[in-house]
Subunit: 308 residues, 2 copies
């Protein structure tokens, strides 16, 4: 089969062995997979230990499985496979397993290929009324929902999202459903117009907010968030990047601010929201795998691959 293989230096289109599922795994024929910013960060060296097939956002069909109910079903999949044995697996924190394998990110081949194997427990059937072009957003939508798993955002609060990219957009979709007074603060007027139906937008603001979500992708996002958040308020950090930031932590002590790191989230509520049509998604731009360079360079809201 064809696969996009990363060898720790660069990414190539390769002829790759079709994978064989283990006893607790399923074999998936990929229908659509999507490029995430993390894929681009890996190409820049974000995960120096990883080599293998890239990609972790996908919709596919189950061809083989230890769970017969899944065979022939259209599915999406969580990306973190826990060992089941460590302290995190045993205390409900499987996504933080010390020995975890992460599809296309750590120790496990990903979905930029015709076929992929995955731990069957990670699969979620996609309701028939969600097209694959929409279902492929389940993973990033779940990551946005993780904020609501971690922080109680009240309808009467005001909330700011820092950033005007894809991550900020998915977060805005989710937070706007709470009814909270939401402001998106970005640097690009031409991108901010995409948010106008769901939130107020601003390049700068004098306002302060009870909850500030940093989706800027920038190491200085925490500093901007500190300026925007109210005393006793909460900052949620969603951006990952390489590099350190010089921070006056006393500021957060004196103002009793809570900072929460936030990563992967729950799939079932994400599928529920997609099924009900509550999330407005711009179209995804789909390419054949051989045109992977175009997909990675695309300026569209989301680019990905369609397998025929």
């Amino acid at each position: 089969m064809k696969a996009l293989y990363y060898d720790k230096v660069a990414m190539y289109l390769e002829d790759y062995n079709k994978p064989v599922p283990g006893p607790k795994e399923s074999l998936i024929k990929i229908l659509i997979s999507a490029v995430c910013n993390t894929d681009k960060e890996i190409l820049k060296g974000y995960k120096p230990d990883f080599f293998g097939v890239l990609g972790h956002e996908f919709v596919g069909v189950v061809l083989e499985s230890n769970n017969r109910d899944f065979i022939g079903k259209r599915v999406v999949g969580e990306i973190n496979a826990g060992c089941g044995e460590c302290i995190y697996c045993k205390t409900g924190r499987k996504t933080h397993c010390i020995n975890r394998k992460v599809i296309g990110i750590a120790d496990k081949d990903g979905c930029f290929a015709e076929y992929m194997t995955i731990n069957t427990e990670l699969l979620h059937p996609v309701p028939d009324d969600i097209p694959s072009e929409v279902a492929v957003f389940t993973e990033p939508l779940a990551a946005a929902l993780e904020i609501l798993e971690q922080v109680h955002i009240k309808p009467s609060q005001n909330v700011a999202v820092i950033g005007d990219g894809r991550l900020a957009y998915m977060i805005t979709q989710v937070i706007s459903l709470t009814g909270a007074d939401l402001t998106v603060i970005g640097r690009h007027k031409e991108k901010l117009v995409n948010f106008n139906n769901f939130a107020k937008t601003a390049i700068e603001t004098e306002e302060t907010f009870e909850v500030v979500i940093d989706a800027s992708g920038s190491p200085t996002g925490i500093v901007t968030a500190g300026r925007l958040v109210r005393k006793k308020g909460t900052i949620v950090l969603k951006s990952t990047y390489a590099g350190k930031t010089n921070i006056d932590m006393s500021y957060f002590v004196v103002n009793e601010i809570t900072i929460k790191g936030s990563r992967c989230g729950p799939f079932e509520p994400a599928l529920q929201l997609l099924k009900r049509g509550l999330i407005t998604l711009p179209p995804i731009e789909l390419y054949e795998l051989k045109d992977y360079e175009k997909a990675f360079e695309s300026k569209a809201f989301k680019a990905g691959f369609e397998f025929k």
Copy 2:
């Protein structure tokens, strides 16, 4: 009256006008006041805008008051006086009032003097069975209790306190009452022995903890805390200091760690714990005000002033 006056450069023993209470204030005759590390930080330039009488930990007797019930009573006092008008005062966050006056710290004379005035609403009567030498610990004990206001520490969790000084000691007293598995991590063997009755102690550890409380007083405390805390765990920052720290915030995002700044806390529960004798306090070393240099240089657990 005699008072310890700070003029933005140095501290002097001065003859100072006896203060006159405003319409909502009480006049307090100070019985005992105690030196806090914040006082020493102010002498180093921590609060460049402050000048006036230093000191914010005290026990006194009410001589005059708009509340007649208080007259003649022994009291302790909260330190933050809110304006009552700003967004923080109006949303239950008076200690974060934008225009707040803080006794001996911001825009209000403190308690290193024979008399002091204070907003009557900030006063708490001291139960008769708490000696003044004990009641003077109400303010720092309340600050330690603020951790339990902010974080639900479960009896089944393991908790680490970083630091072996006074702040760490007060925190250890409070956290040990939860029954949690508590470890104090400090640098000084001779100080750690003070904690042996209340917690495990260590210079270094390979263990990880659900909750890590930084009371090290060091800008690098956050880095140590990041190493000790479990994924999805919580770090509470209690130390204030001047200076920035170079931090990899992505680490806290990927591991979904919560960081909480924590400052002043509730007085009534602190008085309850003191009344019940649940807090073990080493003796305070008391000086006359004229010997203020000795009090500031004291290596005792706590030093302060007694007014006869």
